[in-house]
């Protein structure tokens, strides 16, 4: 077999191993089973300030939001890096000047909805913020 093909196959194998290692060590630590969480949505300019208490088995915030999509009217825009939250409660953020800032128990979220684990008792806030 061509030497280059062999080298490429080996590098692909190393990359697959790299993905596996990443998911093992850095993947979101999720919690299985029934959980009760709070979703708080704030759009100050529209006078929207809603709080939902939700019981769910979902492990990631994105899946939870899809589960209650009709209730919270969640809209996402699929980007290269994953889903981006663009709308809630019928309000679409003007992406040229604002976005949905996500807080978990009052602290700024460090990752997006697709990587945020749903933990029992947590409060997830979505606040339209200008930049």
């Amino acid at each position: 077999m061509n030497k280059k093909v062999v080298v490429i196959l080996l590098v692909v194998l190393v990359a697959v191993a790299g993905f596996f290692a990443y998911n093992t060590f850095f993947g979101p630590e999720t919690q299985v089973g029934e959980k009760e969480v709070t979703l708080k949505i704030v759009v100050e300019s529209e006078g929207i300030d809603k709080t939902y208490t939700i019981n769910t088995d979902q492990e990631l915030l994105y899946d939870l939001m899809l589960e209650v999509e009709d209730k919270i009217q969640a809209e996402f825009d699929m980007q290269d890096f994953g889903p981006m939250l663009v709308g809630l409660e019928g309000y679409q953020a003007d992406m040229t000047k604002e976005y949905f800032h996500i807080k978990i128990n009052g602290a700024d979220a460090m990752v997006g909805v697709k990587d945020t684990p749903v933990i029992d008792g947590d409060t997830y806030e979505f606040i339209v913020t200008t930049f």
Binding site: A15, Y22, F26
Partner: protein, 167 residues
């Protein structure tokens, strides 16, 4: 600098921007690394460096000024410098493919360093770790692209040079 050099740099910069735009639909697969390595090898350090700076500035004009393209002013010239130094030691496509692969793997880290300056080290660490899967794809695709295309492109441009004296 002669008119020929200025024209060459303009064409090389345009090819970088065009190459980037063409592959922008595929996340983290790009030919800019491959082209920059090839340009450094063929056209030399000085021309490759000027080409890079024009390419990055064109990016600013196209997409606006942000921390990400400030990072480009740091990472792409770094690639030129490393390629230039490596070229003195080896001319093997395996060496350049490995450089391209390593560069792709470290791309997120290099940007995380720049992001840390603006948003703090904690943000930089999260930025880097969350981007590792993209860096793996970037490194892998860079390696394959350079390994397959490096020699044929060098050969083609050298052949064209024999007929048209473009170098």
């Amino acid at each position: 600098m002669r008119a020929k050099d200025i024209t060459q740099i303009a064409i090389l910069s345009a090819s970088l921007t065009a190459g980037k735009l063409v592959l922008s639909v595929v996340p983290n697969v790009e030919i800019v690394t491959f082209l920059l390595i090839t340009f450094t090898v063929l056209f030399g350090f000085r021309k490759a460096m000027i080409t890079t700076l024009i390419f990055v500035t064109t990016d600013v004009l196209l997409y606006g000024l942000g921390t990400w393209n400030l990072g480009y002013y740091f990472v792409w010239p770094l690639l030129i410098i490393i390629t230039h130094l490596l070229f003195k030691i080896s001319q093997s496509e395996y060496v350049f493919a490995s450089l391209a692969g390593a560069f792709g793997l470290c791309f997120g880290f290099l940007f995380a360093v720049v992001e840390s300056i603006f948003y703090g080290v904690e943000y930089g660490v999260v930025y880097w770790i969350r981007g590792i899967p993209f860096d793996i794809i970037h490194g892998l695709s860079n390696f394959i692209i350079v390994l397959i295309l490096f020699k044929p492109l060098i050969k083609t441009i050298k052949l064209a040079n024999e007929k048209m004296n473009i170098l």
